[in-house]
């Protein structure tokens, strides 16, 4: 009798825990998943009135669009440079701060502070720094160099890479610092006793333990790299110079022209690329990280 009641109770509890997930699931279905299904559908029809199936026609049209090509190349270039830099530099900083230096927590706070400062608040300072007659060029002149037109030349990417690193390195560094602190001390001690150099310890022990964190920081930085549009928009407005024309600019323009087919094709294509990248990263991590866990 008692046993039966217990099972009843458990069943009710199970149901309760399922119910807890429902509101969120319904919202996600309505606002993301179902409309994404529609987006996939839109990407293979000719227009929302005729509903004729056209296969990969929209994708072809998208890939042939000059603006899309430019936006993809710029976005890919930016991510390929800034993401590895964000990972390597913040790991390097975290390793440096492993030392017992005075004022460590203050330094850590200062590195993290850009995360909590809205980009819009400080964008003017960046404009002053990178203006043709701005601070950076004055410093370059002082050392006898030539002015660089940062915003309007190929150096446009340099500006946004700097802004990206400024914003994201603190967060990444904290993640690495906590991962470094979690490495079992005794392993490091044994390595030291055996006479392993600092570099050897880093490559053969620490890097192994850090590999899940490296993967996570890599994915996080990749996601954040697609938010660089904010910085570009705040710096240059709707019409940036060539090298700063990002995918989000292309999407915004396509939204304005209400070309749903192209828009849908772009979203589907981009989501597929993301899934492939993440799958590759996970596979790599599984390959390298399995012997530690």
């Amino acid at each position: 009798m008692k046993k039966r009641k217990d099972q009843c109770g458990r069943k009710g509890e199970r149901i309760f825990s399922n119910i807890c997930v429902m509101p969120s699931l319904i919202g996600v279905l309505i606002f993301f998943l179902i409309p994404f299904g529609i987006v996939v559908y839109y990407s293979v029809i000719n227009n929302p009135i005729m509903h004729d199936f056209v296969g990969i026609e929209n994708y072809k049209r998208l890939i042939e669009t000059v603006a899309f090509k430019k936006a993809s190349v710029n976005t890919a270039t930016f991510s390929l440079i800034s993401v590895p830099l964000a990972v390597i530099l913040s790991l390097w900083l975290a390793v440096l701060l492993e030392r017992d230096i005075p004022g460590k927590s203050v330094v850590r706070t200062l590195f993290l502070s850009p995360l909590m400062v809205p980009t819009a608040s400080v964008v003017l300072v960046w404009q002053v720094l990178f203006h043709t007659n701005g601070t950076l060029n004055q410093i370059i002149e002082m050392f006898g160099g030539n002015d660089i037109d940062w915003m309007k030349s190929a150096h446009g990417q340099t500006i946004i890479i700097v802004m990206f690193l400024w914003k994201n390195m603190g967060y990444n560094m904290i993640l690495f610092m906590s991962a470094l602190a979690a490495i079992p001390r005794d392993i490091i001690e044994v390595a030291k006793l055996e006479g392993a150099s600092g570099w050897y310890q880093f490559i053969h022990i620490k890097l192994r333990y850090l590999s899940p964190t490296i993967l996570f920081v890599l994915i996080l930085s990749l996601i954040n790299s697609f938010k660089i549009f904010r910085e570009v928009y705040l710096l240059t407005g709707d019409y940036p110079y060539d090298k700063m024309y990002m995918l989000q600019h292309f999407m915004n323009n396509t939204f304005n022209s209400l070309d749903y087919q192209k828009l849908s094709a772009a979203a589907v294509l981009f989501s597929l690329i993301m899934i492939v990248i993440i799958a590759i990263l996970l596979a790599i991590e599984n390959h390298f990280g399995k012997d530690v866990e």
Binding site: E13, N18, C20, V21, P23, S24, L25, G27, V28, I30, F31, F32, P35, I38, L93, L96, R99, V107, T109, L110, L112, S113, P114, L115, M116, P118, A120, S121, V122, V123, L124, V125, Q127, H131, N133, T135, W166, G170, I174, L175, S178, L215, F216, L220, I223, F226, K227, F229, L234, L235, G237, Q248, M251, N252, L263, A266, A267, F270, I278, L282
Partner: protein, 296 residues
């Protein structure tokens, strides 16, 4: 140089380097705040060269160079007076930011507490499939998710209203993902002990999970808040009416026009997040640490 000396020397070198690098990291923030206390004459004298490109008629009294200055010649609150008292536009945009960010943060967190509890108790196949879907969704950039959001907003006739941004914001899975990871770490023995004492599922949620996750909830809420406080993509796509735009979008337009005010507006805009950071840094550090590791 023996090993000990070398170690000491390295420590000093690292300290100096770290301090300089850290100062460079706060410089943009400090400069913005410092410049917000300058008079508008001083601002145009220093930064007039930037205006020159933008508005042709103002170039008479300004120097050619843009001078970045740390310390104002004369400290004044003129910019703040202008922003806060004379130009209701900025306050309105500030209000827009609040009206978007606060509901999203509050409801996303409430929903996340409930959902994460559901995910952390009685795991089953169905739930793990949903959770995996959430992770995929979380990874998708705005360039992907804004298209479905736009379609739904259009369908429900909420395009160009705050709801177009708030509703998808509430259901964004970011906080569910983080909080579920934290809740899964709560030892099952706590829950069993509570059940022996006759606690219901709802009581376990409110009396065990929520208090134990207080730090995580605060820190995740901070991360959500700052992300939406910084929003640019969503208003540009989902709200055509510029009057409704949050200050984070509007600031790009002031920067080109009213340069004499921009530093003060920028400073005002960072006050909420800076305060959060100062009061909740330990929570934030904790929250960031939780976020590490997709699988963990």
């Amino acid at each position: 140089m023996n090993k000990r000396q070398k170690e000491k020397f390295l420590n000093i070198a690292v300290t100096i380097f770290a301090v300089i690098a850290a100062l460079l990291f706060v410089m943009p923030t400090i400069l913005t705040i410092a410049n917000s206390f300058m008079t508008s004459t001083e601002i145009s004298a220093n930064y007039g060269a930037m205006l020159e490109n933008m508005t042709e008629d103002k170039k008479t009294y300004i120097s050619e160079k843009v001078n970045l200055k740390f310390i104002p010649d004369k400290v004044t609150f003129d910019q703040y007076k202008n922003v806060l008292l004379k130009n209701p536009d900025y306050l309105l945009k500030f209000w827009n930011s609040i009206a978007l960010t606060v509901p999203i943060t509050v409801f996303q967190m409430l929903l996340a507490i409930l959902t994460s509890y559901g995910f952390s108790r009685y795991p089953n196949k169905f739930k793990s499939i949903i959770f995996f879907t959430y992770i995929i969704l979380m990874i998708m950039p705005y360039q992907v998710t804004l298209v479905p959001n736009f379609l739904v907003a259009e369908k429900f006739n909420i395009l160009n209203t705050r709801w177009a941004i708030i509703l998808p914001g509430i259901f964004s899975p970011f906080s569910v993902f983080l909080l579920s990871k934290v809740m899964r770490r709560i030892p099952i023995s706590y829950v069993e002990a509570a059940k022996l004492d006759g606690a219901s599922e709802l009581q376990i949620l409110t009396k065990i999970h929520m208090p134990l996750c207080k730090g995580a909830i605060v820190s995740i809420a901070m991360l959500v808040f700052i992300d939406y406080w910084n929003m640019v993509e969503q208003p540009l796509v989902l709200m055509k009416d510029a009057d409704m735009h949050p200050l984070s979008v509007f600031l790009s337009q002031i920067n080109t026009g009213d340069i004499g005010l921009a530093f003060a507006v920028g400073t005002v805009y960072m006050v909420p997040t800076i305060l959060m950071f100062l009061y909740g840094e330990d929570y934030l550090l904790e929250g960031i640490t939780y976020s590490g590791g997709i699988k963990g």
